[in-house]
């Protein structure tokens, strides 16, 4: 249902002066409660103002105005959740299993997390709820994150919470290992929790409230998981961790860790992890981070998305991407597409690239989506080419899915 228009909706237009050429914009408005394209809730029109884009028009101000490509995303059938999503960051994990025609989704509700699997077309198949049971007579602690870690010989589902880290088989059926957080030198005024999960070759790295990153050595099978190392590089709570196989090297990965003060650390994995680069913060939290071909993509509490060179730590691109804190970033590695989601209700897709001559990092805006009245808290691509993605929002009891047309 596409309505071609020659003029944009007044309320969505930018107040800047427009060039003589036809104003072009692609912004899709989505009502979260609806089931799909056929089922519209009454009284909430689905707005799709879509016109083809033309690049390279210069405005009166001499600034390059970049228009969106004609690519469009269509809202697909949502997957219902037992419990609504909590207002956390990175609150959606996706495990793609193309060989089995399945996709797993993981969402945190609060004291429980829901793991579910869906067939293509979003048909839900099985679901499971996980909790952290700490003892009799004590309420289950709040879960901060749930995330699948793909290792060379196995996939583990990791759950972080206040007080504990728990690791399960990938379908959540069996807990393989758990680790109690060490209170160490915590004052009572600090909340203790784990947050930030990533797989790095045969290690699983988990961040903590103290800034320490725990590195667990994972065997090819079985429960003999060992805490190998504790990385110190951060002084404030870890927010997110991202990894990527090191270019041209097998069995080595690069990893970037981010924290609540915006500090980013780039590491090289190994029996001992080495700190390669440290990018200073400026007091603004960095809730989400991604790594792709030596590019660090970081989303911040002030709505900015910044791209740094992982080797030098130099800032190459600064995007004023969102009006509220970024809550999630994801990457489609095959094409270098970056997905950013924020509490401002918007989700944006960007194309990352390197200038072949200068080696500078460049970015292009591809698409924007507005999830009406929803504080987005999780977003993931559902395939490595970035042609589909899924989104969760605070208090939304469904996973919204989008596919490109």
């Amino acid at each position: 249902m596409v309505a071609p228009a020659t003029a944009p909706r007044a309320s969505r237009s930018s107040p800047r002066p427009r060039p003589e050429a036809v104003r072009q914009c692609v912004v899709s408005m989505v009502a979260a409660d609806s089931e799909g394209p056929e089922d519209r809730p009454s009284g909430k029109p689905d707005l799709r103002v879509e016109v083809e884009g033309v690049a390279g028009v210069t405005s009166d101000l001499g600034v390059d105005l970049q228009y969106l490509s004609p690519r469009m995303f269509r809202r697909e059938r949502s997957i219902p959740l037992r419990g609504s999503a909590a207002a956390l960051s990175n609150n959606l994990s996706v495990l793609q299993l193309p060989a089995r025609d399945l996709t797993h989704f993981g969402v945190v509700h609060g004291p429980s997390a829901q793991i579910l699997s869906a067939a293509p077309e979003g048909v839900p198949l099985a679901q499971r709820q996980l909790q952290v049971k700490v003892g009799v007579g004590v309420s289950p602690p709040l879960i901060t994150q749930v995330h699948w870690c793909v290792l060379p010989f196995r996939v583990l589902l990791v759950l972080t919470s206040h007080r504990r880290i728990q690791m399960y088989e990938s379908d959540g059926s069996l807990m393989v290992y758990w680790h109690a957080l060490d209170s160490g030198d915590a004052s009572s005024a600090q909340a203790m929790f784990a947050r930030g999960i990533a797989a790095s070759v045969h290690f699983i790295c988990v961040g903590t409230w103290s800034g320490r990153v725990l590195v667990f050595d994972i065997p090819a099978k079985g429960p003999n998981i060992v805490l190998n190392e504790e990385l110190t590089g951060h002084q404030t709570p870890i927010t997110d961790i991202a990894t990527e196989r090191a270019q041209g090297q097998d069995g080595v990965a690069d990893m970037v860790t981010a924290d609540d003060s915006g500090v980013l650390c780039v590491w090289r994995s190994g029996t001992v992890f080495t700190l390669l680069t440290r990018i200073p913060g400026f007091g603004v939290p960095c809730p989400s981070v991604q790594l792709w071909q030596g590019i660090v993509a970081a989303g911040y509490g002030d709505g900015q998305v910044r791209l740094y060179d992982a080797t030098t730590g130099a800032l190459h691109v600064q995007i004023s991407a969102h009006a509220r804190t970024v809550s999630a970033l994801d990457l489609a590695p095959e094409v270098g597409k970056l997905l950013s989601a924020a509490e401002d209700t918007f989700v944006h897709i960007w194309k990352l690239s390197r200038n072949p001559e200068s080696g500078s990092i460049e970015v292009e805006h591809c698409h924007g989506e507005c999830i009406s009245d929803t504080q987005v808290c999780g977003a993931r691509f559902c395939d490595p080419s970035g042609s589909s993605f899924a989104v969760t929002g605070y208090e939304l009891a469904e996973i919204l899915r989008f596919n490109s047309v």
Partner: protein, 382 residues
């Protein structure tokens, strides 16, 4: 989550409670001196030093049930009485209002400005009582001291903690519906226009730099919203222009505020999460209540001061109807004291409650048994 959330939650909900009570006292034409006395009594109980000391200790947030008990007690800290239905409605209005304010705060740190707005208004209610004014200022200073130095990351954690507390509450409030800040499904409208938060840039610009950190290119993109730059930052001092309007009094005498009971079925499952295994939870909650209420000094009304009943509804019939028709899933459930194993804690709480005196009111509908049983019964009814 954050262990610094409770003071902000308590003070803001308390502020909203006072706004509603003030509006109802005027709407019900309660004589000025009585109305002032009610507000003074409640405010002086709220800001009592011992109580504030307990409140400000770093601690986890407890369940809505436990917190509700504290407000029940607070609302009855004067000669005013509220029936169950009115108390329920009051609590609904308080929670939805603060939830709205938290959700719409531009920066996580702005929740402090919302708190200051509430405190500024509270000071307005008691401007003729210097002793109580002093107590409020003490709390104000404590807030500035503790929260003034918290980082943006810590405020984001506080925000997340508050939003988890309010998760899945979708009670529709008539003022919000009329002002179009709430949709008919109970969810709040999140505008995509207006000023950006202080410290955030208007979205829509991409800046690229060379290896000498010089800006080499600037591109605009269509971000989809209609934002403008923030024009001023609110003041975090004892006195000052807060700039933010969230947390100021939205009620006026002529605007009756109604709530609509509508729990959509798909939210039922997530609401019942909290009611799993009530007994293990009750023990922690009772510890918390014993501490907090132990610090609450309820003024014993001297002499046969006649009390009165405040009605949050327009008529008594409406109130009765509301009590009967409140949906099951929205009832604030019982904290089952008798069932707890911890006898010692039981006794301590019972002792605290014996200290509270409630002047007998013939109008109190439910079981009006002996005084000591009143409060226990009240807690059991929650």
């Amino acid at each position: 989550m954050s262990v610094r959330t409770l003071p902000l939650l308590f003070l803001n909900l308390g502020g909203e409670m006072l706004y509603v009570l003030d509006q109802r006292l005027r709407a019900q034409n309660i004589p000025g001196d009585k109305a002032r006395k009610v507000l003074n009594d409640i405010i002086s109980t709220m800001f009592n030093r011992k109580f504030m000391e307990e409140l400000f200790k770093p601690q986890e947030l407890y369940s809505k049930k436990a917190l509700r008990t504290v407000y029940d007690r607070l609302a009855h800290a004067s000669i005013m009485r509220l029936n169950q239905a009115s108390m329920d409605k009051l609590y609904d209005l308080m929670t939805m209002a603060f939830k709205y304010q938290v959700l719409l705060c531009p920066r996580p740190k702005d929740v402090l400005l919302v708190t200051f707005n509430h405190l500024d208004s509270i000071k307005g209610f008691i401007r003729d009582s210097p002793t109580i004014l002093h107590l409020v200022d003490e709390t104000f200073r404590q807030l500035i001291e503790i929260y003034g130095s918290l980082s943006a990351g810590e405020f984001q954690l506080i925000r997340q903690t508050l939003l988890i507390f309010f998760q899945d509450l979708h009670i529709r409030v008539s003022t919000f519906l009329k002002d179009k800040v709430q949709n008919s499904n109970g969810r709040f409208v999140l505008p995509v226009s207006g000023p950006v938060p202080w410290g955030t840039e208007v979205p829509g610009v991409i800046r690229m730099f060379n290896d000498k950190s010089e800006e080499v290119k600037k591109i605009e993109f269509n971000h989809g919203g209609d934002y403008v730059a923030a024009y001023k930052e609110g003041s975090f001092e004892l006195y000052g222009d807060r700039v933010l309007k969230l947390g100021t009094n939205m009620y006026s005498v002529n605007r009756p505020v109604e709530t609509h009971m509508s729990a959509t079925s798909k939210n039922l499952a997530s609401r019942t999460q909290e009611n799993i295994a009530p007994n293990p939870l009750a023990k922690e909650e009772l510890n918390f209540l014993a501490r907090l209420m132990g610090g609450m000094e309820i003024k014993k009304t001297s002499g046969p001061e006649p009390g009165f009943r405040l009605n949050l509804f327009t008529t008594d019939e409406e109130e009765e109807h509301a009590a009967l028709s409140r949906p099951e899933e929205l009832s604030y459930e019982v904290i089952n004291i008798q069932a707890t194993q911890d006898q010692q804690r039981n006794e301590e709480l019972a002792r605290i409650m014996e200290e509270f005196e409630i002047t007998e009111q013939p109008e109190i509908t439910e079981q009006s048994a002996s005084k000591g049983d009143d409060l226990l019964a009240m807690m059991d009814r929650l």
